[in-house]
Symmetry: D2
């Protein structure tokens, strides 16, 4: 019986079908078969494999011949599944064409096929993620534009402060997404390379043919042939998991803000989309932020995955004892979770329900207090900072004591009305007039195209 | 299509079939059905459910009626699978006995059934682990006894020092296993309790019947009814994952020592058992420590799981947004991996091949240098620490320079032979005479029964 | 110049003066001097040290003779500061009494003095923490009692649900504090033991005197003499850091709830104490949760410290290369931060400002929707669950549509009024009548004395 | 009394004096003063500050006027030290020139000065680190060249395999260092930007002057003015800590290999430099890898720091409650430790003692077994893989059984000698002839200049 480490009742939160596909049992077997096919082709081209070997291997790229149960049971004894994989592959090839079987895996070691297959899977995974980031970027950009002027309270320390706009909030997410898009590209340019070193990374079994075989192999797999094998230098793999964690971190910041804005007492936005989403049969007023919860849940598992990759870096000599294996479930897990988080974030961003009236109402409920700064700045120009500050403190204390709007209170203070008319006070206290550089920021963010790439 | 987050090619390292069973989809469904059955029985006893309801639910304990695909797709919308689970359960009960359907899940909330089901699964998991710890403790104790006097070099900073015995090394593992056995018991006594609070933890839907329903429910599930619900106080769950990590940490210390002793240049022990284990077809002299590698790999993933549990503790109010969900795959993963590590450790301990001659040879190869301390201590008694120290430094420098054994060199030094005869020197340099309290330690460790419990 | 790794501008958040004292340079030196004093006394008692040696060492317990700069620079070369410490100690003793100098550190290794000194410091640290937990427990218990009936909204998914009381919320914290109090005691009973093994843990330099010397040494230090040395079995040290993290986790849950309740839009509680606390000169309405922020900040650094302790467990053979040293700043840091978190939590709990009127107002603002469950439960008894559920859904939809209170809407529905009078409806919708087992829970929590110990 | 969170007895391992300087109390105060000076200059240029204000602030750049004790005690109340800092600065300016005091900090919020000051400190820190990486790269490149042909055993699973060279091992470190050098540059290009947003990130207090003030401010600080403030988008800060962890990870891989090669039983290299380094007075044969231990110790604390940065990313709205503060000690700590690790690595690389004879002897001790692959490859060409494999297995079994060299055993096997002469066998078994692409790899690595940048 095969050991399952997944439970469908929970895993639905932590992956997408597409990304699960990329890191499925079958996909890994196909990637391994692809490595062996390309190696055989390269060997054939260099005269180290019988003619036609490559073609025969090509017919086995789907790896359907593999008997998984025996693969796993032998893998448990040998420490990895590459050895039984090559054995099964060799057997099936031999049954069709003995000479072709002789050169299978020649010059390679288990880690070569496992690491390169992983790189091929990661390339597919990055394609999915980049598409996801692009989609999310588009949707968020659209929302930024749409809500560039949608006024809501700025909040620091979870206390209401001067106003900002929903567009600017979302623009922050946009900048983070773009930065991490660049990070992923930079990471990929280091990571998407061949691993091919033979037993200890010297390609010794190939003698003088090493460079040519490697070059052909790399070309067939459309990977770069790096200056030397990297079997126990794992920084590239650790890096990509770090970058995925940065991505989920930015998505979690986005999701957490939505959660806070969805609170019953705030109620400025809600997750849209499916009407059944987040509903409660007994409490119809509730709109549970279920997609946001998934994003946050995912992010809280990512530092652990990223930390495992870092802790596993000091791999011994030419092959590690344990630290390599520690990566095996960690890397796919990181990709699956990131893909799921991106999917949830896209869903949230696309269907976000915005209640601009409630945003305004929440601002109004502050009696103008967060706008005190605006009046203070204006008065400073005529009566100086110190006096202005004292006046405002008197005014705001009275607002709090009497629960009357700041405009009203200021209108009753002769020291204020001596310098500011009622109309001027109203204008100063209008949040719409206190948005500073918001338009400029949003313009810059939306103009930004590929500044980071 | 259901989302899979596991790949059989890697997961075989990270679980055992038995523990995978405990946390399988079916096992979780059965645990949830068990909660609902027990709740219905409790309600029936208190007159809140129709007569016979409990019996009807009893016939559904295998949860085979659940349609998993729709459960998962609805779960994705509602944020957890408890809501569709109750819906499906209610439907099937209703089809058989309408009145019995009325009281299903009465007084409970989604988190009640999910958390209590988890506790039931953890109880099964702890039974497996405790058995594993007991087995391992027995095997290690046997090896401690067997190798109580098997001499090998003590090593500090990975440099050979004075001798110790293999029995004492393994006795260290034994003490750690026992301590963590106690920790698990202490953790279980806190953790194996009912979660049953209703919507916000007040059991309000049950009115005055709350205490009685809870008491019956707890009794049927053989769990303690705690002084209050603990829905967002997650210390007990975080604790058990910490303890599992302590266990894998001690196992990894054990495995790492074996790996180091298995190095080609040391070659004092090797993993035994299956002849094919760790073998290399092209390099038959190699004995790869594959089981040790698995233990180490597992441990390096545990701090991440433990860290997620800690980070997820500050759960908001009466139900968290995301932090609860972050636990869902983390806890089963921690149990699966710990079980696997225990299995590997048992295998290693049981079949450990010990080469006592090589241990002696490695000690001999040091030319007696690590025994210099013994002579130094002896000389100190007659000529003082300072002089003794100077003499030994001269002697050991000469040993290193001339590659002659320390005994020989000391025999040539009149300042030494004035105080120590050749026989005395030989006796002092015999590692067997420099084992201090080893026997006493081993005796104490083996006598120790349940001192920590 | 000595290397400082602390910046006073930030560190004030992350420690208390008392705990900093426990892990200060001077305190560590004193703990090391204490070990050497006790060892010398033990040796003297066993005839292995000159008469009067112990007394001489006693006069040096303050370790004021140590020249720290040279200690550190030599420590850098030798890998730890025990070697130069013993050298300096020996020199100062020798200058006063040559024979007494001969036996200093006899039978011990660097790790013995460093580990045992650490254990002594941890004992002091635990005394501080236990006092802190006791104080906090007292204060929280008082608040639980005081606010046993202070009604506020229960909140799940950060959405308002049925009511609970502030007392019950705080009772959850109380249970967590008590559990972790027990954990600390259990951890201490394992951890507060002597480390004394000599070069490789065999006490070989003491020959047959090992047991007696160790017993005397342990007694003088008031530590247990464990069944064998534990130099590379670090589970006890890792455990205590885990437990500290569980403590900060529970405090962070408490603090996060306060932060959420302090939000401008919720405003049900605030941090009290000093009037200047959390104030903003320009925005006097703001009450920033500065103490809560500190608790949360601290907790978010703890999983990293706990993870380091776990990762550092697989220590090689009889002394590790690097993993031991990884603990050195980690353990004190964990204690300092936990102490600081406890201090902040005490401050918050002691001075918590509660606005019960605002709590009631927030409940009222829900138009009675969270109470729909109560009516549904009542109607179920007469018209069945299905019909009751449908009626309530109609009613609550209308409440949301027309923004009229649920009581009013229900009063207009003949299918409802056929079964429930207006008075009954009012009674059902009164949150005060829907508190289920709150009183019982609080009673049980407050009665609870030492159930877990 | 100020709270210290550092103990000089341990901190010497975890920092360098230079990096401690960059993140010292004084350096942070100076960076904050620098921000306020530049802001005042920018305001003055835009007509928002009195003439001469900038000059006055310039005279205060050393921040020596700050009373640290009151700064810290007020900081504890207000949640950060920016508020009292501005208060003290304003007071001292006011005492000299009242009008200049009016515009201090105008348009800025606490987080602006703290974040931008941090960026300035990080810029200095990166300068130190880049210099360190350059130095280390140079030294390692020199060793790669020197030991390009220094033969030693390749080791996989800590078992001896076919040979490699010390130069190639070190070349791996070189590639990792270069990749992380590029990562640091890419990170810096994102991170070294101004943070200046005012209360909620809108620069509202500056009205239409925002863009100009920000542009001037950025120019004076030689930072880029980003498209919008980034106060709660912390990906850039989290990224740099990830990259530092990748760096220490690669250094720890390097250090761990040295430690393993320094083992008594291997003894192929040792840490050089100071003769007292790693010595043991009682065991002069020991060469403890103290610098390697420090590198490893440091790396094992880095995943925790990196994880804290990731966990702290979901910062609420326009200023976080706790998650921001969680960064405060984490970032400096990461830089200090990385600098220390770099320093140790440089020391190790520079003074590495290489014992090429011992390397050869260790290879010889394998009786030629790791070279079996070479013979197998050669025979495969004539008799096919399967037969060749069988012959080699017979031969190597006999080598192990009889402890005779492989060359001798092969010479006795007619099936072998029929195809290979004694000279050919000797040539095949000469490790020097089985180095595959080592020269090519080293050549490529040394040629590589800035391929990744």
């Amino acid at each position: 019986m095969l050991t399952q480490t997944s439970n469908q009742l929970n895993s639905f939160i932590f992956s997408t079908p597409e990304m699960s596909q990329v890191f499925s049992t079958q996909a890994q077997l196909r990637a391994m078969a692809r490595f062996e096919w390309a190696l055989t082709c390269a060997l054939e081209k260099c005269g180290l494999a019988a003619g036609g070997s490559g073609n025969l291997l090509k017919s086995l790229l789907q790896a359907e011949f593999i008997e998984i149960e025996s693969l796993v049971s032998e893998g448990k004894l040998s420490g990895n599944i590459a050895i039984p994989f090559v054995r099964q592959l060799t057997a099936v090839v031999k049954s069709q064409n003995e000479p072709a079987a002789r050169s299978i895996h020649l010059g390679a070691t288990s880690q070569d096929v496992l690491d390169t297959a992983l790189v091929l899977q990661i390339r597919d995974a990055l394609t999915l993620l980049n598409r996801g980031i692009d989609n999310l970027t588009d949707v968020v950009a659209r929302q930024v534009k749409k809500h560039a002027g949608t006024l809501l309270a700025g909040r620091t320390w979870l206390q209401i402060g001067p106003p900002t706009t929903l567009g600017l909030k979302l623009a922050g997410t946009l900048t983070a997404l773009r930065r991490t898009g660049s990070r992923l590209q930079q990471s990929a340019s280091r990571l998407l390379v061949l691993q091919f070193g033979g037993a200890v990374g010297t390609r010794s079994a190939l003698g003088k043919h090493g460079p040519q075989v490697a070059a052909e192999l790399a070309q067939l797999l459309e990977l770069r042939d790096p200056e030397m094998p990297w079997h126990t230098e794992r920084d590239n793999l650790a890096e990509v998991v770090q970058v995925l964690s940065l991505l989920t971190g930015s998505l979690a910041k986005f999701a957490r803000d939505i959660v806070l804005l969805m609170q019953s007492e705030v109620a400025e936005v809600s997750e849209g989309g499916n009407a059944d989403r987040g509903g409660s049969s007994t409490m119809p007023h509730k709109h549970n932020p279920v997609a946001c919860a998934a994003v946050i849940a995912i992010h809280f598992t990512m530092p652990g995955l990223a930390g495992t990759m870092l802790s596993a870096m000091p791999q011994e000599h030419e092959r590690a004892v344990g630290l390599w294996q520690a990566e095996w479930e960690t890397i796919p897990e990181a990709f699956r979770r990131t893909a799921a988080a991106l999917g949830y974030a896209l869903d949230i961003a696309e269907h976000l329900q915005v209640d601009a009236a409630k945003m305004q109402a929440n601002l109004d409920a502050t009696l103008g207090l967060p706008m005190a700064e605006a009046v203070s700045v204006a008065l400073t120009r005529t009566i100086g900072k110190s006096k202005s500050h004292d006046l405002l403190r008197l005014a705001t204390d009275r607002v709090l004591r009497e629960r009357r709007p700041l405009a009203e209170v200021l209108g009753l203070m002769p020291e204020v009305t001596a310098h500011l008319s009622a109309a001027e006070i109203d204008q100063l206290l209008d949040p719409r007039n206190y948005l500073g550089s918001v338009d400029q920021f949003i313009g810059q963010v939306l103009e930004e195209d590929n500044a980071y790439s």
